[in-house]
């Protein structure tokens, strides 16, 4: 292991956490460079919140070490660590008004009153809450409470800001609005942020890097485009909405790619390498599958089992070679071909569109 360096605002070094017989986090190592917005993404119970709480110090790792700005803080209590946190239900102090909620941390730090007032006014301006300093949390809307929680965390200028599904309590429209604001604020201030979420769209929209967790392990970590376009395994692919996983046999290999045979449906070309004769698993996103009644460039024969109209798009459920696929097509009024369940169709995809999963 290389020694921890201050380039990384947060470093987890082979950290594990067990609760009784349950292992929440297994031997996880994670470096978060300064200024990075990192999302930890995974289904509930995958260990993402426990990971966050170990950075905060609310949980102590069973094994391994936590570093903040190069300093080992594994045994340091939360109130002596350099972080701030935005909680799931905001956790605003109900007995304090907005100004005192936001100024709470600075007061604990012993800042002079005049400095606190100036900092609080500044950050309230930043989150567009200037007129509401003397309101109490219960007098605010959900979005306003969210902004107060954010201001309270930002005003501390922490080494790292931890966010525990902070947008989960908001309705859909507000959530999208807050995503943009949150991203803009984080970039403007250059704060290192760790954001825990189970919502892949949120992670994609906000992050510099995404760590996908399952069963206490990080399955893949990378830029949003990487994890989305090149998922490392079936779990990550599935988590980003790839429902189409097919088994195929490599029947031809040449320098440009391979041909695989998918049951009785036909043979399709893929642009990655594999050994001839191997059975492999590939995934294709629903929006990348093209279908038509007949088209010479689409090599696979399939049968439509269902057609579901969804407003902006239509989902086509296909059966080919004993396997089920779904294709999604944007609706562009008038261009429909009147495809319906039971029709025989052909389908295919660009050789680059297929994702290679583990050899099967």
């Amino acid at each position: 292991m290389t020694p921890p360096s201050a380039e990384f605002d947060v470093r987890l070094d082979r950290v594990s956490k067990t609760f009784g017989a349950v292992t929440a986090v297994r031997e996880t190592t994670l470096d978060i460079p300064r200024g990075t917005f990192l999302s930890i993404l995974g289904p509930s119970g995958c260990g993402k919140t426990t990971t966050l709480r170990m950075i905060a110090g609310f949980e102590r790792p069973t094994t391994g070490n936590v570093y903040i700005r190069g300093a080992r803080v594994t045994e340091v209590p939360p109130y002596k660590r350099d972080f701030s946190m935005v909680f799931q239900n905001f956790a605003l102090f109900p007995h304090l008004d907005v100004a005192h909620n936001v100024g709470f941390g600075l007061r604990m730090r012993g800042l002079p009153r005049a400095d606190i007032d100036r900092e609080v006014a500044g950050v309230l301006d930043l989150v567009k809450l200037s007129g509401l300093a003397d309101r109490f949390p219960r007098q605010l809307s959900g979005g306003q409470q969210q902004r107060v929680a954010l201001a309270r965390a930002i005003v501390m200028s922490p080494a790292v800001m931890l966010l525990d599904e902070p947008l989960g309590a908001l309705d859909k429209n507000l959530r999208e609005e807050m995503q943009i604001e949150l991203r803009q604020l984080q970039q403007k201030l250059g704060i290192t942020a760790v954001f825990v979420t189970h919502d892949q769209d949120e992670a994609l929209a906000l992050s510099d890097r995404i760590a996908v967790m399952r069963d206490g392990r990080i399955e893949q970590i990378g830029a949003p485009r990487d994890v989305y376009e090149r998922p490392a395994n079936e779990f990550v692919a599935g988590f980003f909405g790839v429902s189409n996983v097919m088994n195929g046999e490599v029947v031809h290999v040449d320098p440009d790619g391979i041909d695989i045979k998918i049951g009785e449906a036909g043979t399709v070309r893929l642009s990655f390498a594999a050994e001839p004769g191997r059975r492999i698993r590939v995934a294709v996103r629903p929006e990348k599958i093209r279908i038509a009644r007949s088209n010479a460039s689409l090599p696979l024969k399939a049968r439509l089992t269902d057609v579901v109209y969804r407003g902006a798009s239509t989902s086509f459920f296909l059966e080919l070679g004993g396997q089920t696929l779904v294709a999604i097509r944007q609706n562009e009024g008038g261009r429909e071909e009147g495809l319906k369940a039971g029709d025989a169709v052909v389908c295919g995809w660009d050789p680059n569109a297929a994702i290679k999963l583990a050899d099967g």
Binding site: A56, Y79, F87, H95, M108
Partner: protein, 265 residues
């Protein structure tokens, strides 16, 4: 006719019965305390303060009244501190352990206080605890379940994430308690103190066992006065003063936290 309409008269009768059971005896005592006659006549032919004057002129009564206030203040305050920590401790636990601890802290409530008085007397004799600290200790034990229960109720609606939020903002555990936890459970704490005060102020059973020369609380003084001197109307005045004091305290706490809100949760 709506179901509510049919239930109406029966409901009203029940409410009236409740009120008369609770308030009737108190009302009789209060009215009697203001009577100008030498003996209890109901309704009294007029109004006078002579029995209140008599109450405060009796050195024993006045002394017992003041001692009871002091004991109740001290016992209620200590019981509140202990009960608050017990409630927070239990409130943070989950599962069977929490239930067991809760029963332990509530035990004095179901344990007959006359037995408790006897038990404490034996313990205090053995250990050698003087009379006054003994009485205060007994009153702490009797008041503790009320403080515990009332703080626990407040604490159960307290969001533990608030304490983590405070710690994430550099507040030490002590600062977290003083600036976040305590202000938010304050209604329960004040209500607990009030109940402990009232219980201590009226506590006779344990005090009877534990009292000694020079340390007579008001309930004991009233009890023995009734037994040996028979002046009912001085006792009525004494009781009225007791009730008045408690009413003033309840109103004060009501103003401070809104007791109604606390009781309703």
């Amino acid at each position: 006719m709506s179901p509510r309409g049919r239930i109406g008269p029966a409901l009203w009768a029940m409410i009236a019965l409740n009120y008369s059971l609770v308030l009737g005896p108190i009302l009789v005592v209060v009215v009697a305390a203001f009577s100008p006659t030498d003996f209890f006549v109901f309704p009294p032919p007029g109004l006078s303060l002579r029995w209140f004057r008599a109450f405060f002129e009796l050195d024993n009564m006045r002394g017992a009244f003041l001692l009871s206030i002091q004991v109740a203040c001290l016992a209620a305050s200590i019981a509140t501190v202990l009960g608050t920590f017990a409630a927070i401790h239990v409130g943070r636990r989950r599962g069977a352990g929490a239930g067991l601890l809760q029963s332990v802290f509530m035990a004095p409530l179901v344990f007959p206080t006359i037995i408790l008085g006897l038990a404490l007397l034996l313990v205090f004799r053995t250990v050698g605890i003087p009379v006054l600290p003994g009485i205060v200790l007994a009153h702490i034990v009797v008041g503790l379940p009320y403080c515990f229960r009332s703080v626990l109720t407040s604490f159960q609606s307290f969001d533990p994430a608030l304490e983590e939020a405070a710690q994430s903002l550099r507040a030490s555990p002590l600062q977290t308690f003083l600036r976040v936890t305590l202000p938010l459970i304050r209604p329960g704490v004040l209500t607990g103190w009030l109940f402990a005060f009232i219980v201590s102020f009226g506590e006779l059973n344990t005090s009877l066992f534990l009292t000694g020369p020079g340390y007579v609380t008001l309930p004991i003084e009233i009890f023995s006065y009734l037994q040996f001197e028979g002046g009912q109307l001085v006792v009525a005045a004494a009781s009225t003063v007791q009730v008045a004091l408690i009413v003033v305290l309840v109103l004060a706490v009501e103003r401070l936290v809104g007791l109604g809100r606390v009781v309703r949760g």
